[in-house]
Symmetry: C2
Subunit: 118 residues, 2 copies
């Protein structure tokens, strides 16, 4: 991180300590589990819209804050979502390049459901 955690006020340390797996440590089972929850997949769909900035305060507003925090933790710790400090907020983004480098086309396939032929 390039700074000394103990030099930061307490809240800053808390946000700085969020852990993200390195790309080589991302596991497909964790990614698939993270995406297997409809609420989490909705968050991922929101983050997949190009050009939209998302923060922890702007996604999944229909659910209780604790539920949202839990889902964002699962998405973060599985390697699907990056959560970066921006002032007092956290900017959320999809780790699309990282996922594409390990499982090319996976995210695209999950998000691109085909209409059922009738």
């Amino acid at each position: 991180m390039g700074f000394e955690p103990s030099a930061l006020p307490r809240y800053a340390r808390t946000v700085a300590e969020f852990e993200h797996p390195a790309v080589e440590d991302i596991e497909v089972s964790a990614v698939l589990f993270a995406l297997s929850d409809p609420a989490r997949l909705d968050i991922v769909r929101q983050l997949a819209v190009p050009g939209e900035l998302a923060t922890c305060q702007s996604v999944a507003l229909d659910m209780p804050k604790s539920t949202r925090s839990h889902h964002l933790k699962v998405l973060r710790e599985s390697g699907v979502v990056l959560s970066e400090p921006r002032g007092r907020e956290r900017l959320l983004s999809l780790r699309r390049d990282d996922l594409d480098s390990r499982w090319p086309g996976l995210l695209t396939a999950v998000l691109a459901e085909q209409p059922v032929a009738t």
Copy 2:
């Protein structure tokens, strides 16, 4: 099914009653959850080998029968695996065409992990 269940002996009714979702009823959350377990993904990898016939007795031989049955049930009910009666056994196969028609490339992407660049 085209036959009268009550006309069959008890064991045949049991196997005939296995349920598989129709392709249009397959849900991505159930598919991703089914694939998110490493043991189930191993079974899927076995079934993905072309030309190999697999039965309930020939996959995942390293786990207790009850565990294997549970995993096969999750794979079947999510729409990932087809289990068809063949005499007194059940032939297992991947529903690759069904999954590809709904989420093109999903199964291929999950099974085709890229080596981590060093």
